[in-house]
């Protein structure tokens, strides 16, 4: 039962990677990377149940947040060309 779910999740992840490769614009790639991250959260959760180790859920909990922060950081970088480094206090781009 979990193996079927993991197989479907892996297939969906491969499709998301396909869009990541094909994506003409930057935002297709960010979207498919974000979708890939959400599927990773589910994969780690189902993997924890498959191998009978409940502590995997902490990892997927953490990855759910990290995925969100990563997406926002990529968007901010391409919006302002910088992530607000310390030298330029306002760091509001060029």
């Amino acid at each position: 039962m979990f193996a079927v779910t993991m197989a479907a999740l892996l297939a969906a992840m491969i499709l998301a990677l396909g869009r990541l490769y094909l994506g003409p614009t930057l935002y297709d790639r960010v979207l498919s990377a974000n979708s890939f991250g959400t599927k990773t959260v589910l994969l780690i959760g189902v993997m924890g149940f498959l191998t009978g180790r409940p502590d995997f859920l902490d990892i997927s909990l953490l990855y759910a947040l990290l995925n969100f922060i990563g997406t926002i950081a990529v968007l901010k970088f391409f919006r302002y060309r910088t992530l607000g480094d310390g030298v330029n206090p306002d760091g509001d781009g060029p």
Binding site: M1, F2, V4, T5, A8, L9, A11, A12, M13, L15, A16, G18, R19, L22, P24, T25, L26, Y27, D28, V30, L31, S32, N34, S35, T38, K39, V41, L42, G45, V46, F49, P54, L57, D58, S60, L61, A64, L65, N67, F68, T71, I72, L75, F78, R79, Y80, R81, G93
Partner: protein, 118 residues
């Protein structure tokens, strides 16, 4: 007897959840334009993830594991719409216009700028 029922219920949740995840990923590939792909990505983020988490919760019963699954569901509930909105907003401000039906928009992806932040 109850083990059979919980297995059947969680199997039904997991099967429909994984079906929706695959459908969402397929939509991510086949949709013509960026803004339509947002819909496809939304399917997996919302119902696909929730059904799979619900299937795991049924399997786990009343325990700490279910609390963790509820927390994962809550975080996904808040972060995935926000990140989808952030991506769409960034794309629109960067000048990636949606494709209008009669082709009056900025055309398909070829005409889109490569994310030049203004």
């Amino acid at each position: 007897m109850t083990a059979l029922v919980t297995d059947a219920v969680s199997w039904a949740f997991l099967a429909s959840g994984s079906f929706l995840v695959v459908v969402g990923a397929l939509g991510l590939i086949r949709m013509p334009d960026f803004y339509t792909r947002l819909h496809a990505a939304g399917i997996t983020d919302t119902l696909g993830a929730d059904l799979i988490l619900m299937g795991l919760m049924v399997q786990a019963g009343f325990s700490l594991v279910t609390v963790k699954l509820l927390l994962i569901g809550a975080f996904l509930f808040f972060t995935s719409p926000t990140s989808t909105h952030a991506i769409a907003n960034a794309a629109l401000t960067a000048g990636l216009n949606p494709r209008i039906a009669d082709g009056a928009g900025a055309g398909t992806d070829s005409a889109a700028p490569e994310g030049d932040g203004k």
